[in-house]
Symmetry: D2
Subunit: 353 residues, 4 copies
């Protein structure tokens, strides 16, 4: 049997395992044969479930992973010469190894870095990018893509979302939300999924699964019929049509067909609060973003971080040149208070070495 | 609970469920946390396991699905102006919705259809495509991609494979094998995986999992160091870097770390033999390809097939204009003799209506 | 001054120089300044001229070269998962180094080679490629692209064109014509440009210039408003928006604003006739395609062809393995009877060596 | 005959016509036949000429236009997951309608906007983009692309160029120069082409033609053999292989085979100086960039600019929201002092209305 490390990870919410209820749903789906590629009863039930959660206009396309959900959705929303406006810290811009450009051929227009936003963008950031409409020499902005909660752990309020959606409508822009951690935002703000998406006027959504207790899988959701027509083909061509789809749909059903999505997110957020509270008591540390969901961004002495990282793998969030880099620590559905305690103890020890 | 059809499927080997030993391996991997993206002990053990099976030169890159394994592997093997020679019936040419062209930007050069080959190609088919080397107006053939066993159920013999590999070496071509059903070919010919791949001189291999009892996942295998350098980045950019990789690696370990891959393939082949034997006794049917592995291609009256298809979904393998189309029927690791009996009974009834 | 070869070329119609009236038109356009990128009076006049020639529904987009005209036009006509049906010998399939695949990301579906067609295709060739509509695993045929006159020198009759257009309409396919040598076809059949294009029901056309006396340039012509919307952006992004556009528009105006296009094509065709007549008298030669326009395809002993090629460069039209390969010889607007005589004399000598 | 506007343009150096000596060179090249696609004596002579100008390591690939020269060169310098660092104002980033992303599939990493640089970037701007080397989740910086002179009219000094080149070498980055207006920089700084390119350690160069008196055409120049191997195929596939190449090579020979490139650039720069001097005397205007070459960037009241633009077309260089936008005015090889006087008079009148 494979030997594993006994310590919990604070590197990312995808270092966690699979929630037992989701594991059970996969086992339950493993009976008899089922037609491949989504023509199965689990996928049918999932479409109905998401329709209830997000409204009847929603059309859903499960895929393997979040990068693909983002790229295929943005491809469906744009022509080749149309561009996607996003924050510099957006996952599509920073963490997908150029997939939007290489796979979909689309240019991303990152807004000017805005340290106040913690990964959020506002109409004010977008306006300077809209100057050249109709001018063939420049790509034409067509989509605004936001991340909720952001890659830096912040949440757009409902008011901010409504303002963005209404701005987009006025300017003939479509609004896309990368919701890899949307459940965490819903938990933080006490909103339903529908209030946060369909109700504010989103055109499309990438709905997360893997970071919230699933084994794999996210869903492309579109709220417009015209966007839905392209996706079956883009998904197949984009190498994301799951062969034994029932095992993805069953996971999503387990997560979104009950309150499990919310419970998991609430737990992750709660653990981040506990961690933040205890970290705040340690000397020499600085929170560079507020802790609204399940991520902490903490500036600390490089030596102490290096020491801590020998035991707990985590990512640095800077260019590697500073004496006091920023570390990202994340909690998940499976983080325990005990693990938080252990992590903080080691951190404290590292700081005092 | 989701209601499912009680009848077994003969539509494809991916209509089967997940083998219990593989399901167990996934459950076993679901303990504690593990670093994402492949830096985990299961993935490390898998690399060692495949190295033992296929030889020390092999480098392995698990991905979600076969289309991606093929496309990313062929992209790594070619420059943008280099082309891939394949059979017209090749999965990359016919069943991947243009992914090779749209995602990798590569042109496929299908050989002239050759009804004798049953999806196999030989040096004789390839030579006419090699006329324009160095001529910038035409794409430059660089890879020959074969499927073992073919999409039409046939197997290349070891002699044929060696002849192709040596032809490729002489002509400065690389040889790729789409091995989505390689286990079935090994079972049919009584060869080991290594005899069929590394030993004949393959440069790269797509090694199957989903069609042989896994939930999802295939592996890109390359036998040359220069091909291996590009793949980590192509896999991430190509939207195929599995986040919770341990659950893919654990499946592959369960399959290839024991003889399960061979047992499953042998069983599928054996069931196809039984089915073929019983179908052969029915009147008015014609086998258009020999039954070497786990697929039957049978020409039959359209009316009878339509009747049968009301109960058993399966694919037609023609353009829909003939009175006597070709149906494909496949068996899998989970097909039972009882199900074969039931299927043949219904077929017989449909033929006699 | 650059030293040049004194012999005329029979390699291709693009080995000829620029017709003096076109050269003059370029010199005439070289006065004062003009706004770049097509917002100039020459380009405006060209649009009007082509509207008169081809009908008011036509929208024109001049580009640098024929490969780009084809690729951008086909890209505008298709979604990423839609395919283009063409003859195996089509320029887009054989002579554009995979641009359709690499630049536009589109799959070409070449029909099964049909030696009777001399590069032409008919509904009968197309039907077998239409079997999988709506099936996400396969690309969806959307465009039929034909070449008039074909790469093998043959012409579609008006009847054949009408039959193709009506077949396409019935099957919800768009019809594109690669008209790099459309003037030669018009000259051969005695039709106007409009009779051959708009009147038969074409959806889009690549209209040639370079091979008929221009220095550079072809025109993408579309007959549907929906296709026209994408082209200004695709042309710029596709690296084909000519900066000093007036010099391209002035050439096209000189060619198509008078009968020069027809005179040039007639002359080229006439010289091909003379050449064919004289070649036909020589022993040991075989015409593999009828001579309808300005190209001859002649099978001859390799030794004689090699000898002739020492003096006259030309292309072989085979894979290089036969003892009696096929040579292509072309005439142009500038070919003289004297040059034909000289060429045939050398050929005769080479045959008798 | 086409009626044209009598006023000279200050919109761009590509609104000028073709220099008479270049026009003559094209006419001279129009004799006899010549093999197409570059196998002609003009192209051979051009390669020799550029080799003398830029050093024996240089390999040259003429193409139709600057966007293509940039995109194909950058594609040759990178793998799909490698990125190009550039200024936000770079032509590749701002004025090529997303060609680098859509055609080559490459991500551009624009540095943080730096108003001090006037379009130039320095190692300090680049360092923050180098943090994630070897990390598969992010594109890998491989090329630094600079523009000389910049899109904002500024020049890198030789010292700055050497510093950049040596920084790139240390960091395993390649250095590319977009030299669409390199002659203007050479004229401004009194350097030879070689001193500005090969001697500082450039890896590749896009050498301009169209903006300096040619009808069309630029040249991709590479100084490394490994980069040269891909370009013949990328150029053909990238729809940039000129059919009647002699007419492009003849232009480049006329420009770079004598001092014409320098004379033209000097003249354009001198006219910009005169214009700047006279504009500086007018009230209410502000130069937002220093005038080093042939471009002025002047902030002025929108009303006055709108009035002036009724007679003289020019581009705005902002997002259209300010009361005092920035206008770009350019001079060219053909600008006359008389035209400058006329332009300034109209500007003065517009300011006083």
């Amino acid at each position: 049997m494979i030997a594993t490390h006994s310590l919990q990870s604070f590197a990312s919410d995808n270092n966690a395992g699979v929630h037992p209820r989701i594991m059970q749903a996969m086992a339950d789906a493993n009976r008899a044969d089922a037609i491949a590629y989504g023509d199965d009863p689990w996928t049918e039930a999932l479409a109905a479930c998401l329709g209830e959660l997000l409204g009847p206009a929603c059309r859903s396309f499960p895929v393997f992973l979040g990068t693909a959900a983002n790229v295929l959705c943005l491809q469906a929303m744009t022509q080749p010469w149309e561009a996607v406006i996003c924050a510099p810290s957006a996952h599509i811009n920073r963490d997908e190894c150029g997939a939007a450009e290489a796979i979909a051929g689309r240019k991303l227009l990152a807004t000017v870095p805005n340290s106040q936003g913690h990964g959020k963008i506002s109409p004010r950031d977008i306006i300077p990018l809209l100057g050249a409409r109709g001018f063939v020499h420049q790509v034409q902005p067509r989509v605004v893509s936001i991340t909720q909660s952001t890659e830096l752990g912040a949440c757009y309020s409902l008011t901010e979302l409504r303002e963005l959606a209404s701005f987009c409508k006025e300017r003939d822009l479509l609004l896309h939300m990368d919701g890899a951690r949307l459940p965490n935002a819903c938990a933080a703000l006490g909103c339903s999924l529908k209030e946060m998406t369909a109700d504010v006027g989103l055109d499309a959504l990438t709905l997360g699964g893997t970071k919230n207790g699933m084994m794999f899988g996210e869903v492309v959701i579109v709220f417009r019929e015209d966007l839905a027509a392209a996706l079956p083909f883009l998904r197949k061509q984009g190498m994301q049509l799951v062969s034994k789809m029932r095992f993805l749909s069953a996971q999503l059903l387990a997560l979104y067909g009950s309150d499990l999505w919310l419970e998991n997110a609430r737990h992750a957020n709660a653990m981040a609060s506990v961690l933040a509270e205890r970290v705040a008591r340690l000397p020499g540390l600085e929170f560079v973003h507020p802790v609204q969901t399940n991520a902490l961004f903490v500036r600390a002495p490089r030596r102490a971080l290096a020491r801590l990282r020998e035991e707990f793998f985590f990512y640095f969030w800077d260019d590697g040149t500073s004496d006091r880099p920023v570390a990202r620590w994340m909690t998940s559905w499976s983080t325990t208070e005990e693990a938080v305690g252990c992590f903080v103890d080691r951190l404290q020890a590292a700081l005092m070495e």
